[in-house]
Subunit: 254 residues, 8 copies
Amino acid sequence: MSSLADILEGYKQSRISLEEACEALTRAHTAHLGHTTVDLHRQRRVGAAEVIYAPGKTPQQLAEIFVAMAGKQQNVLATRADAAGFAAVQCELPQAAFNQTARTIVHVSRPVPLAASRIAVVSAGTSDQLVAEEATVTAEFYGNSVTRISDVGVAGLHRLLTRIGEIETARVVIVVAGMEGALPSVIAGLIRAPVIAVPTSVGYGASFGGITALLGMMNSCASAVSVVNIDNGFGAGYIASLINRTDMPQSGGL
Amino acid sequence: MSSLADILEGYKQSRISLEEACEALTRAHTAHLGHTTVDLHRQRRVGAAEVIYAPGKTPQQLAEIFVAMAGKQQNVLATRADAAGFAAVQCELPQAAFNQTARTIVHVSRPVPLAASRIAVVSAGTSDQLVAEEATVTAEFYGNSVTRISDVGVAGLHRLLTRIGEIETARVVIVVAGMEGALPSVIAGLIRAPVIAVPTSVGYGASFGGITALLGMMNSCASAVSVVNIDNGFGAGYIASLINRTDMPQSGGL
Amino acid sequence: MSSLADILEGYKQSRISLEEACEALTRAHTAHLGHTTVDLHRQRRVGAAEVIYAPGKTPQQLAEIFVAMAGKQQNVLATRADAAGFAAVQCELPQAAFNQTARTIVHVSRPVPLAASRIAVVSAGTSDQLVAEEATVTAEFYGNSVTRISDVGVAGLHRLLTRIGEIETARVVIVVAGMEGALPSVIAGLIRAPVIAVPTSVGYGASFGGITALLGMMNSCASAVSVVNIDNGFGAGYIASLINRTDMPQSGGL
Amino acid sequence: MSSLADILEGYKQSRISLEEACEALTRAHTAHLGHTTVDLHRQRRVGAAEVIYAPGKTPQQLAEIFVAMAGKQQNVLATRADAAGFAAVQCELPQAAFNQTARTIVHVSRPVPLAASRIAVVSAGTSDQLVAEEATVTAEFYGNSVTRISDVGVAGLHRLLTRIGEIETARVVIVVAGMEGALPSVIAGLIRAPVIAVPTSVGYGASFGGITALLGMMNSCASAVSVVNIDNGFGAGYIASLINRTDMPQSGGL
Amino acid sequence: MSSLADILEGYKQSRISLEEACEALTRAHTAHLGHTTVDLHRQRRVGAAEVIYAPGKTPQQLAEIFVAMAGKQQNVLATRADAAGFAAVQCELPQAAFNQTARTIVHVSRPVPLAASRIAVVSAGTSDQLVAEEATVTAEFYGNSVTRISDVGVAGLHRLLTRIGEIETARVVIVVAGMEGALPSVIAGLIRAPVIAVPTSVGYGASFGGITALLGMMNSCASAVSVVNIDNGFGAGYIASLINRTDMPQSGGL
Amino acid sequence: MSSLADILEGYKQSRISLEEACEALTRAHTAHLGHTTVDLHRQRRVGAAEVIYAPGKTPQQLAEIFVAMAGKQQNVLATRADAAGFAAVQCELPQAAFNQTARTIVHVSRPVPLAASRIAVVSAGTSDQLVAEEATVTAEFYGNSVTRISDVGVAGLHRLLTRIGEIETARVVIVVAGMEGALPSVIAGLIRAPVIAVPTSVGYGASFGGITALLGMMNSCASAVSVVNIDNGFGAGYIASLINRTDMPQSGGL
Amino acid sequence: MSSLADILEGYKQSRISLEEACEALTRAHTAHLGHTTVDLHRQRRVGAAEVIYAPGKTPQQLAEIFVAMAGKQQNVLATRADAAGFAAVQCELPQAAFNQTARTIVHVSRPVPLAASRIAVVSAGTSDQLVAEEATVTAEFYGNSVTRISDVGVAGLHRLLTRIGEIETARVVIVVAGMEGALPSVIAGLIRAPVIAVPTSVGYGASFGGITALLGMMNSCASAVSVVNIDNGFGAGYIASLINRTDMPQSGGL
Amino acid sequence: MSSLADILEGYKQSRISLEEACEALTRAHTAHLGHTTVDLHRQRRVGAAEVIYAPGKTPQQLAEIFVAMAGKQQNVLATRADAAGFAAVQCELPQAAFNQTARTIVHVSRPVPLAASRIAVVSAGTSDQLVAEEATVTAEFYGNSVTRISDVGVAGLHRLLTRIGEIETARVVIVVAGMEGALPSVIAGLIRAPVIAVPTSVGYGASFGGITALLGMMNSCASAVSVVNIDNGFGAGYIASLINRTDMPQSGGL
């Protein structure tokens, strides 16, 4: 509230005119109103932790964004990126890392301190791993330790049961599955953490590019399941981080 | 082929005219062509084992059909019947039995010998039991022993695992589930018998009256699952009987 | 792992026979395997904190369940209950409380200590309040403080902005909206907490009983939004509690 | 009505025979009946202001249409055009202008006087700008001043609020958005002008190529919103012009 | 901007403390920020022209709202109202008027001056007239002259053509149609005014409660058509008024 | 063309003024333009053969329409009528006939001469007969001989094959079926007449109130099948009559 | 019935053995039973008038089929063919004709006598003409005179009205339209012939590849409209021929 | 239960330490719990009869899997494989067989003894044969004799009827059909064996890539039909084998 007080004092002491005070207050209110937004936004997109959706950007554009952000000591994550995009970024920033499965490029200027609790990312089939890896990289980018558990689909329950110990100690669990999307229900019935379900477009015929999995997860008979969009690994990783950390970490010394 | 020969002989020996022979052959061909159909049909609907879909029939009509069939020593099953229909049937046939959960009326004239192997009927939630019971009564009507296992939804896997021994010894398993319809996948991954999945209209919101469960079952990651229509307990019981018995039993002395 | 060791020791020291040891191990393994499930289950459904889905149960049945649970000093919550059900419960347990808007009955045997952080439940229109109230009662039942904020739909942004301060201090925010379901996106863009979106069946025409709202929330341009089923206030309240508390509270002295 | 009078006079004064008069009247009646259509049509498509849907036409065909129209001093707009089409047009008409984002070619023979009031075209995300630009070029083609406001999605409300002053002074506002399509509701709640909402095919998964945005806009809780087809920037620009001008301008000296 | 100045002056002259000034400015900024919203809102809902969605309100509640608004000299419109609601309103406000077809109650305290141009409301079939009448009453409530043209469906083109003269002179045309929803396309091809299409739930089978009409209108081959939700007569009337009048009228001397 | 000549002559001979001539020509052109429409319309709806859709009309209104039409010696058909409506009609017109299955009321003033060729109406199941009967009554109303063939669903092919002789001699065949809607394909493969397929809303679960049958018929592997709306027996009967007769009969003194 | 008699006689006179007679009767019955099918089939596919669906066949295979059929003096029509397929056919049969718009290849061995009445094929937009041309070629192949009327969409009613005279004299009218699919309703309201509506996949956004047009046609407010599958020009042409000719013509001297 | 006893004895006799015993019991319990799963799994995927879904695997990876399995004397089946994959496998295992239609690679180390009863695989159209062949190869791989019957669509019933004798002697029948998917209903009405229906993506327009066929089969009026996913030939073959054999054969020396 100090900025309002500043303007008021400035006006009372006649350092600024009435007109100037009105204008400053209008500007201030704008900043005031949106301060959460602005800060959050700066933190999340323009600032410390920038996330870039790569499709539609040229390798050159991608590289320029990375360089600009890195210049401000901000960590940068690009999703849905390809090798060409990475090559351009790497020319400028040799420490940038490409995860081919997750299709992500990450460049860290100031390492984020790790949260105390962990996130588990569980995936059903081999083909679901792309989405699971995007969730994993995202969660790690925001400073979370992630346990990866893959190929534990419901049709081979045995494999899942031998891994349940690793899953149940996580603060929050991301479950990635295509086809009938039943894995989140099964896992949510075995543990006490909240489950974020990610339907994938894996399947054929009546899987409708992920709609069947999405609907199945939506109708989970387990109460702890909430759902994000098809193939939205980034969203799941981001939400899991919001749950796992009291405050989303601010990378660097900000 | 003997009937053709009979007509031919009758004509050769002039017991029947050319005109009569042609007409008889036309009739015979009709019978011949369709004989499987006719027999099956007579067996299944008009004959030994009659099944009646009760909705749209008055209690009086229902009672008349039961009486007519019972008079021919045929077993009769009515599905989707209510108490009023049963009252009318019971007045005429005191031994008729009503299953309120399954909404079935059964009258047995000649008991069907039981098949050696068994059918298991597994249901996920309490509300799925209506459909499960319709499947059970149907399977029993055709001379099958049925093991009922209920309330073993995927969100409480523990209960399912303690019953898996009973399930895995069945020749064929009917799995009834609403909401996300994940139970057939889980069971099919644990046993070696074929699984007939029955989606139910249990659920709300994005369950779409059973469509979500149907789609989930259709996209099962377990190979042994085939699916029937929403709430179609009768169909599941009938198919399970076709699988469990080499020949669908012919009730009575046929 | 001590229970296994106990059995082993008991057997080694011949306190139990080989047969007894095998049986105990089988039982133990069952418990071991499913211990999270079993415990969780007991806690959640059979034990301390029982939740009952009222539809399909008679007032008498409902009352019996409440009495049985209360006799074990367990807290009980019934959802989608009506006045008749409450009357029957109240005869036996005068302290039971009915929330007509939320359609819930709650009976608390041992008060749950409140979590330090809060949950906000935000709803768009007047008609969305039924679902919002179910979420609120559920969250409170599990020991969470809830801030209710209603009638702040996106078409009257002003009302929302004046309440944003209350929303942004919550650990997790439930947003309930029908029609186009845009409110979660707007709120998630203004705050840093995870948002659980609940589509409601409020609307007409092309709202398809909540499908449009569900799809809109699924496609939120804000990353922090995950979604539960249409009108699923209970699920949202339950998940919010899982996020707000490190461990779901165990009511009573357990 | 003068043409009917002309024929009547011509006949009365015997300049034309009865047969000629009947035929002329039949022809005239055709013109009369449809005169709005014909005129409008000639104005809009064949005449002064011709609009061409480019897909399915060769560059050569496109160029020929432009030349023919320009020869009649008519303004021409081609939508969904590509660079090859433009190259062919430009060879013949060097003043023709290509808008790569909007994918439009415009050739103006007689400048249209500008309407007094303005149209605002607001778009949510970067990818929505193609459609927004098509709407903008269309509106400008018909003689409207357009204010472009882009990248003001609902998840970053702050950016929108700082631009609301520019939006609220427009006579009619076109709002272009993909994903959940919430922007029209938010804007319509802040201003008093009619809002034409254009869903775009931007999004993935459950966005269904724009269906989710379309449904969301259709169910807007703000009353001032009407909707056109997915990606239909042209239609929105055309309707906005019909609203902004009392009469759609007739380009050239007509 | 004067209110800001007032606070500033009050503070400068020490009539209010710094704390009071900060709080007043925060409040003022809120009002300032949202002034369009607030004013619009007050005008539209709380103020001069109040619109009430009747379903879910008791007759008594409805009557109380009418009385409160009328006491402030504001005009009130209730939509989807029934005879019982009207009876309660009429007891208190004898001049209130009920339109049984439109299901509207209107009470006018200060007559709104009529706009110079007119709105046409065209409907296809007899059953579409309910929705058309809601649009008509709404448009009239906001001070527009309305021409009603009904029963001019596309399968009887002749009837439409004889009325086209009345339609083409309107500033904006609302077209209401169910079934295949083709009427807006036909009309928009004959006139030059913008067309607001209202799909209705009239039809059966594959009309899907209005979805087919909505989709048909959405895909109109005529460019001048925008669409509102199924049966949304109110929305169409409101938008048409926004188009027909430069400013939505402010009833009374406010 | 004579009316035009009349007006021209009237004007030339100054029996009418220029103004009168223009107005008369405008009127004449209207009549001229639409004469097919008008005539057809009068014949089909207002005139000789009136069809009334009963729902939404009171018994009294229904009776009045019948009396008015009968007074003009026109035949009248009401569809979707009930017993109450018939009672009212019968009071006034004792010869009116009610078909309870088809839900039709027919009153014939002048019998229509029968067409030489016949129409066959084939239905699959018992429940499809309501729609089949509506088609039958409609076809008979327009003067066609109809062969009814019912209960010949594809699952009992034998019954169908024994009736194929009756079907293949019809000029056009209406096939009515619900559930999977396969009957039209089977019949169209056995005969040479055009087949009009009518999906019915008979079925449950994934039959979606007739959508599955409609889609099945739409995708018939037999080329001779065209489809009308779900349960649209009237439409099928009307189209079959258009095909069976060179000209739709004009009941009355033609 | 003579063939049966022949066999009987042959057997009676001992020209054939009992075994031979049984076998012959079995064969004969097969032929008898299916004689309509067989004949029709031979006529339609294997015989006089062969129709080939080209996709999935190599140019060489296509040419071989044409040669084989032409060798039997049968007329052949291939649909959905391309230039490569035609080139191969033309090498062998220089008189074969390719219609690039309709994508058809036709080779006529024996010209079919023309039916007395005509078929009209009406299409809405330029892009609908491919489908219209397939319908036209098909109808002509079966010996019908066809009137082509194109580019008469409902948004330019004037053009349609000037052609209505040509349309109303046809025995049956095929109407081809995409987008909202309104043209069949409008035409069916102006004429007395049956209308076969063909939805096309022309459109974008919410046209769903023709579904919107299909649904619109299905819900036509005009009674004379029946519908075939999307883009099914062949089916429409075939059905129109079945209606236009009492018997489908048998090409050649059969 | 012996393994538990073994561990207990080993521990009692101090052959293993307490720690070793606990670990062994944990392992054993895991094996015990899941033993069906494990065995089944080993048999089906890792062991004797391995099935590989080829898409997403490089030819080299495919070859490696085949070699590894063949080295363990296990039979291997790859589905959805292409020629390149086969080439790589064949280099290593010259006896491997490629079925180009079925897109399968099979390598048999130990021939599976054939079941006594047979499976019939029936397909409707030419294009359905790919899926039918996948079902056939799968069934044969598991040791079943298969009768192939193709091109017997419902529109040519005659061809089907002449083959019904071959179909009705099978223990289970797979029916493969696209478009309207009516064939399973017709066949199930003619025979007594269970029918597994496989919808295919064959068709266009409103066939929706197989959805229409799937829905049609789901709503079959014949009781014996259950359904698998679109184009899922493998699943159908696998389920048919489960039905045809009492135990799924264990290839190799078991």
